[in-house]
């Protein structure tokens, strides 16, 4: 089987889910815009005084630790718990897990207090979560970690089974597992690594897809990652030669014009 479920994109545009972000200030504008471009509605509210309240009116909650600080950690936990209590999916982007003790402790704390529907990271970040050795360098995966897709499959599947969550490892080939099946996606463009926030935006798309398709989290996650990969490909074909500024803008362009047809025609997906 190599087909993703149809209508996942349509369901976003029909229901326009509210996606609550507690996220970093580096890429937050891109996250809000890509959430709008895919057809959902973003809200960013990271004060402890309101993060749980906002979670309860949202259809998905995204926790991204890119620019972590002591004020936002309890707000993240409160939002995550509030979402858990009403079965709203919560997605974790463990940006740079492994890079500092503070980040590691925070990831541990978040994972012990909140049930995540999806965790998306690069191989370094996910291996940190899995308790394996990983050297994190900036927000990019270390070179040593991107060679082996078989390893990614094993890590994703075992971790997903252990944590009872969907694990998504994005990279040259993306690997997504729910603990049983594994989906691989060979879309995307290497130049996406030169635009800050393509990982964060991917996580926002997961929020939008899960918010619009709460009963199909695994397929929703894969289709979000597929959407991002295809956006990176088409945007590069259209304007990549002009340079990174145009490429950055064109990624938003493609998401805003994305259709189920484009997803079907472009998908390089395996499911097994």
């Amino acid at each position: 089987m190599t087909e993703l479920m149809p209508d996942l994109l349509k369901n976003i545009r029909d229901s326009k889910p509210l996606v609550h972000h507690l996220t970093n200030y580096v890429t937050v504008n891109d996250c809000a815009n890509i959430t709008l471009s895919i057809g959902a509605s973003p809200i960013m509210a990271d004060a402890i005084e309101e993060s749980a309240d906002i979670a309860t009116i949202s259809q998905a909650v995204v926790l991204n630790i890119g620019t972590l600080n002591a004020q936002t950690i309890p707000a993240m936990i409160a939002a995550g718990k509030a979402a858990n209590s009403i079965n709203v999916p919560v997605i974790l982007d463990p940006v740079d897990a492994g890079a500092s003790t503070f980040r590691n402790q925070t990831v541990n704390q978040l994972m012990s207090e909140v049930n995540f529907s999806v965790i998306r990271g690069n191989i370094s970040e996910i291996k940190y979560i899995a308790g394996l050795d990983a050297i994190t360098k900036g927000v990019d995966a270390s070179d040593n970690d991107i060679k082996n897709i078989d390893e990614s499959r094993t890590v994703a599947q075992k971790l997903a089974k252990r944590l009872k969550t969907v694990i998504a490892i994005t990279g040259i080939v993306d690997v997504i597992s729910d603990g049983n099946q594994v989906i691989t996606i060979a879309n995307g463009h290497k130049k996406m690594a030169e635009i800050t926030g393509t990982g964060c935006m991917c996580t926002s798309l997961i929020g939008a897809y899960c918010g619009g398709n709460p009963d199909a989290i695994f397929q929703a996650t894969a289709t979000a990652i597929l959407s991002m990969g295809i956006a990176g490909e088409i945007a590069y074909e259209k304007v990549g030669k002009l340079g990174n500024g145009h490429y950055h803008a064109a990624i938003q362009d493609v998401i805003s014009l994305l259709t189920e047809k484009i997803l079907r025609e472009r998908a390089c997906v395996t499911i097994d």
Copy 2:
């Protein structure tokens, strides 16, 4: 009468007012850039240690509660009071008023401690302030609220009269009132709702216009909103088909190239 005052744009470019923003981190870059594009000078300083000092060297102060937190509320109040004390106009953007108790309490506190020259929001936010029922969903107006322009006129006029401030309700048709007159503006493009921050940018433009025209706050506010609407229209005509990334950039383009002539030719304005 259907003519806005001339020279309001020219006055900005001649005097280059400093517009102090205490605003959210989602759209702050766009707010700074649109302030520069219209011909004013932005400064963003939200620490309590300096927000009042910066207000005293500014020609307008914008308070935007998009990503509110406990640290910035006293800084907003200090900046607002400092501006009030020297008759510098203060503009409020009550983003998502109605969406959480924290946001509502903060709006109440800001309104009780600071005198605003202008309050700009969508119909949901302004109805919250007016004490009417409103359901806020994300930063967009609820569907139930955008049907009735007559209602917007009534709400804006009564609230403006009661608060002795200019009230601006932006939406498909924008309604601005000083409590006596009502200006309606039918410019803009529905796709503006797919770009995060078009509301915030509009409020920054109000800051720039009021800073450059402190003796014509009502007309300055209307011309700022007209400028934003026209930017949304022309930008969509030029690049809208390319997608949201290009559309986002083009809004800044149009503001930077805006002239009094374009304002006159495009304006769909009624004043009564």
Copy 3:
């Protein structure tokens, strides 16, 4: 001699230095993207709990006080000291020094506790640091201050000698001194002043160049500023007429496509 050292750009792309930023939330996305576009890797981490840890795995640290607050000052000092202890270059961007007592005190504190390899500002900001009279208006240099290049040369050279650091004054003509030599750069475009963050982005480029060339800080700083100036020129030639949104994006374009050849052909540099 009017030649800058070759291979400084190549060294960035070969070593991909990690550039740690404690910076403002207005222009942080542009700073991250320009760091990637020049070939380095950005990380933004401003919590006191991790800022020193991240500094110790970085090749350069950038401290930018654009949106200063009480939480980030100790984090900046910790990152700066950690970098100092292992000879990682630290670059200061004293945004709006002179504009408020809080900003001034912070600059004084940073300079007394951290050894900076490079300080880059406009003439107002650098004159504040030099203890001379300067009136800071927003993030732009005051008109009174941009007339006199001879004065900039004198200020930069004396201050660099006194502080044993590289001083860079950017403006219509950029002046860089290590206390002995003075480099002037006549590249750039006046329209760069209409895009927020061209100063901040320039400082990020200095971080990238210094991180990739730690034994040639003076030349690295000058080449970073030259790169920014050339980006402003070429971007304006390509799309400036379209307006500020396109111009903003095109600056990133040019940096991502920059070559040593372009640097050589475009450079308007004097060294003496």
